[in-house]
Symmetry: C2
């Protein structure tokens, strides 16, 4: 059991977070660089298993908000997250005991580690999405009753805000508006809760999960084993259980734009196997649904990640381009993310999709 995140972990973490990012969540590479600098300066970050979290701990979720396509052009200064946390503490009058990533995928797997290193705080080995999602209300924290407000928000120019909004969905709407006016990228801290609540409402073990994914890929490479097979085996030993390659092919079209503060679009993949129909993946920051000839291959909240055939690395939405050769890996989410109340918040309908959720490898849910 890992008790600290050190410099040696950051490569594995970035590889795992990219896969959990399901195309979105921002490129973990940038977060890795910032976290490396913070750990070099302040030392390793203690990782607390979710079930060991003291009842009375003051915890807040944190990470970056915005369109990943903007993040790679508008570089963070590294101070934004700390400013949002300072503001959160000052506004609530609560001194934080630990941070929890609000999402396990993408850059937000590392941003809380960077901030925790600088503040000398531990990070909880869990998150509120079990992957990456594009909206602030798509959190198990919200599903299981933690108020989204207050939301502390900061940009790279030192502008900050505190929002007290009545619902999580409205917090998303208003914080997104603020983020757009801040240039499309901001850093937020919200879903403040105590340790007892955090244990009840979080997806457990997701920082370790990202590390495990990265380690599995690295070891497979070193031992000249098939990375995908090893990965599927690895998932089988976790509470995600089911992972599967649902398609392989060449990217032949990427239609993508920034709309309402998100990267949205469709990527079309021509299967390697001749005569097969093209596979279409619909995107809102993250990959939402993969379809082929009218059949659903995988659908949100299950994970859909595009992995480069040669390197095995996950390709984020903003780096997709014509000619890339990819395997489409789907992973089923753990039970806490498949309850009816969870699907209300981040199931297909929450994204305006007409299809019912069908958990990978299981019969359709009613």
């Amino acid at each position: 059991m890992r008790t600290h995140i050190t410099l040696d972990d950051l490569d594995d973490l970035a590889v795992g977070a990219a896969i959990l990012g399901t195309g979105g969540g921002g490129d973990p590479y940038m977060g890795k660089l910032m976290t490396r600098a913070a750990i070099e300066a302040h030392g390793p970050v203690r990782l607390i298993p979710l079930d060991e979290l003291p009842d009375a701990f003051n915890i807040v979720a944190c990470g970056a908000m915005g369109a990943p396509t903007i993040l790679i052009e508008k570089l963070p200064s590294g101070e934004e997250m700390g400013r949002a946390l300072d503001l959160y503490e000052r506004y609530t009058g609560r001194t934080l005991d630990a941070l929890i990533p609000f999402e396990a995928g993408g850059i937000n797997s590392t941003i809380p580690l960077m901030a925790a290193a600088k503040r000398g705080l531990p990070v909880v080995d869990a998150d509120g999405m079990g992957r990456a999602f594009p909206q602030l209300e798509m959190e198990t924290f919200n599903v299981y009753g933690v108020p989204a407000a207050p939301v502390a928000i900061a940009d790279e120019r030192g502008n900050t805000g505190i929002l007290e909004v009545k619902s999580a969905a409205k917090s998303e709407w208003i914080a997104r508006g603020l983020t757009i006016r801040m240039g499309g990228q901001s850093f937020i801290a919200n879903y403040g809760m105590d340790g007892a609540t955090c244990r009840r409402v979080s997806v457990p073990g997701t920082v370790s999960l990202a590390l495990g994914i990265g380690r599995t890929m690295r070891e497979a490479k070193a031992q000249h084993r098939d990375g995908l097979e090893s990965l599927i085996e690895f998932f089988a030993g976790t509470h995600y259980e089911e992972a599967k390659v649902v398609g392989s092919g060449k990217v032949v079209d990427v239609s993508r734009r920034v709309q309402n503060g998100w990267s949205v679009g469709i990527v079309t993949i021509e299967p390697f196997r001749r005569g097969e129909e093209p596979i279409r993946i619909q995107i809102q920051n993250e990959n939402l649904v993969a379809e082929q000839a009218g059949e659903i291959l995988a659908i949100v909240p299950d994970l859909i990640s595009l992995l480069d055939v040669d390197t095995g690395e996950a390709i984020t939405t903003e780096r997709l381009r014509y000619g890339q050769r990819v395997n489409i890996l789907a992973v089923r989410v753990p039970p806490i993310m498949r309850t009816p109340e969870a699907l209300d918040v981040f199931g297909p309908k929450a994204f305006g999709l007409d299809h019912a959720y069908r958990p990978l490898g299981l019969l359709p849910q009613r």
Copy 2:
């Protein structure tokens, strides 16, 4: 010298505030109703002359932000302003001693009175615009060095925010974005300052000015005198000095839309005198410039108000329509609003207009 605002003053105030609103600032009628209820419940509001303001007083400017076209469809609950002030006090740790309207024109002449009545606070007889302007940075408070931040903001559903933004112009940009996401209408408190600062940076006597305009119009009507002539005489005795009817005619076209959170458009007036070229008035919430055959009749920051020929009442932008018969009244702003630093913030260039400012009745400024 008036020491209190009572129920008897509200009609005059609304009439005067509509003229100072220069087409914008929101219909004072709605503010009047809310203020009437507050004064009935809590008693008259003490009015402090600007030059009698104690040095150490804690003062904040307040009012409504949004498109006036939205305000008449999305009715305020009356609690929003108080919630923004509560938040401002809680966030800054400062207990307020007095409120100052951030603008003297339109609904914002009355909103601070309503809030002051409820809190038992006095209102300063002054403001930061000397009229109505469409943007948060267009304040003499900003021109003469008061930081716009922090900005407390509240909507009618109980959602609130606090913004700490580096410049007044950026505060406008970000608060406007928040206001748009709050449905196009919000209530804000900002430009916190002490009494000594307030005396230096405010346009004096503008609450009394609005009352005086209303009284003048009412008395002229009762005495069957020409309201416009009386009004021009009245202005001559104030620090505004110069007022003039620059045109009269029938509204023949109103092109108006909500854009970026403002009501923008052009109104075309066909002069009563046959053969005269049409007069065009450009609008951004307020009337910005009146032109006829390439000649500027009046231009921002000077006031341009459209008065109904029959009733003498000012017609706000959102109530303009085909067939209305109007006099176009222009009023020169006082010297504190005509300095080069003031024109940088709310002169023609600040609105993207190509023309130089030419103060009504004076030679062009260089």
